[in-house]
Symmetry: C2
Subunit: 347 residues, 2 copies
């Protein structure tokens, strides 16, 4: 046996010992992923509708083929990609910021709404009039540089916990939705968040929580102001000036402003998403509009008021919206029936 043969043989042994099983395992994983790209979704009509839509729009030569550049999918966040009950996470962030805000500016201690927020009395806070809440948002979401704000949100995301699950809020993203986002991206879709929440807020964690980069987050946005610091360096400061209220009609308006293309898939969960879904559906060619119905009080929450579910202050899914969905062929996702798992964390 020549040296060359020994070398060849030892290479082959290596293959047999490591490479071949590794390739086999990879092939098995790959075929599993292809066979079942949405493992947390139950095998219902909803899942079929999604898989069929993706197949129809990505098969070259088919009448319903959509070029990759036009495969835009927009997702609401609160109640669609993660838990929004009993209070939007961003509102909790604003409330949590008040103690350090008052420590910096003690004169706010006896001024509303800060005085009430400091008591920690959630019932009293919930009764604060809208103009007081706006003062709270302005004080906690503007007046600092964009980098200071990003650092504050990052710190809060890393340290705060949902009181029911006692986990970071980013652990409460819906596993089926993260699978859907990944499945769409694997099929050439560009996935966007289109949220009523603050654009700068969501951008801080969108990449780690959803694999969506900051430039693909459209949200309620305020202006910034470009000035120079004492060292002469440029500063962008967040201003209490509303540029885009990304709710209701503001969603299609925001999509036009920030993306400039009409989505072919839109997913929401409340009346605030209605216009985004209508706008998506009104385009030519294949379209998929979906709404998440929170009908699972055991594993998450149950609220509507559609279909006799409780009426709450957050994320209203009205019967009128439900009827529009049925009439226009939108897909209503039942958390209870369509989702095998809700979160990536154990339940």
């Amino acid at each position: 046996m020549s040296d060359q043969h020994i070398f060849w043989f030892s290479r082959r042994s290596l293959h047999a010992a490591i490479a071949v099983p590794a390739v086999m395992a990879f092939t098995v994983l790959l075929s599993q992923a292809q066979e079942n790209p949405l493992p947390s979704w139950n095998d219902t009509a909803t899942k079929n509708a999604i898989v069929e839509f993706v197949a129809d729009t990505t098969k070259e030569g088919s009448a319903t083929f959509v070029p990759p550049a036009e495969r835009i999918a927009t997702f609401d966040q609160d109640g669609t990609l993660w838990v929004e009950h009993p209070m939007y996470s961003q509102v909790i962030y604003c409330l949590d910021r008040v103690p350090s805000l008052v420590a910096e500016k003690p004169e706010l201690k006896d001024v509303e709404p800060f005085k009430t927020v400091l008591t920690g009395d959630r019932a009293a806070i919930a009764k604060l009039p809208m103009e007081e809440l706006e003062k709270l948002l302005a004080a906690t979401l503007s007046g600092m540089t964009v980098e200071q704000f990003q650092a504050e949100v990052q710190k809060w995301i890393a340290s705060s916990k949902d009181p029911r699950w006692k986990r970071p809020y980013t652990d409460l993203t819906y596993k089926p939705m993260n699978e859907l986002l990944g499945y769409l991206r694997d099929n050439g879709f560009k996935t966007y968040i289109v949220t009523g929440g603050g654009q700068d807020f969501v951008r801080v964690y969108s990449e780690t929580a959803y694999g969506i980069p900051p430039e693909q987050v459209v949200g309620t946005a305020g202006g910034t102001n470009y000035t120079y610091g004492k060292d002469g360096k440029p500063i962008l400061t967040k201003e209490p000036k509303l540029l885009l209220n990304d709710n209701n009609a503001g969603k299609p308006e925001g999509i036009h402003l920030m993306i400039g293309r009409r989505p072919i898939i839109a997913v929401g969960n409340s009346t605030g998403d209605r216009q985004m879904l209508e706008y998506t559906e009104a385009g030519d060619g294949p379209r998929l509009a979906m709404l998440v119905l929170h009908d699972d009080s055991e594993r998450e929450y149950a609220y509507g008021p559609a279909q006799g579910l409780p009426d709450t202050r957050v994320g209203a899914f009205t019967q009128e919206l439900y009827d529009e969905a049925m009439k226009d062929g939108w897909v209503v996702i039942s958390m209870k029936k369509d989702w095998g798992k809700i979160f990536a964390i154990g339940q």
Copy 2:
């Protein structure tokens, strides 16, 4: 000789006749492209600065490596990516739209600024006061659906011609800049246009002219209004309401709004780009800021007023900006010295 040998032999003949030369030709082309990714750039310090910056930021393990997600490059359009003299193309579009606008609304015929525009007297048009010009912009850039506007611009782009070169405006993109855009994308950069021009206007042709999709165009933007047509279908109408004036300080503000990340490369050609370049440079890590100096009256135009070049109304590159560039180590691109070719069309 077995059948197998014949087969093998014939395959080898095929290789010899076709495949090998094809592979060789491909390899030569590939190595040329790698050796000279910017063929329309002369071998000057400017080109070296670009190539070195790209090498430094894309070499894994190097201290100056920038992860692909953060490789954001922003380019001004008018005067940076295509000709802006003697008048911005979008202004010509607005003037060109006036006759059909007056045909639709004959009552405008005797009203300023339409009356003066209809005379075709460029000197008189140039003297129109700003508030009259704003009326012109409002009338030609808003009041229609976004799809109607896109169709109008598309038609104009396909049919109108620059009077000097007698070519469509999209033929007057700078070849070196299109090479640079492609070179950056090949190296994992995401290329954006950040223009003082209308966002909706530039988005119509950005993909075909520069390979930049609409969602990567940031520009001066007006609001839209979501309503329903007579058939009940949703409509987005362009409103004469300014959301973002994407000039000067508006450029970094627009970048934050639309992208949410600080660029690591920014390229402009006038004082309107100053803040974008300052903002880009002020970030940590490697940064490249560049300005195009129009110093080539023969092949294009010569204007400053920096460096004793003529002072014109369009795209001012002041001496103050030039001094700031020199002081801060920004790269000034001389069209005359750094560019071997200006346009893809013959010159």
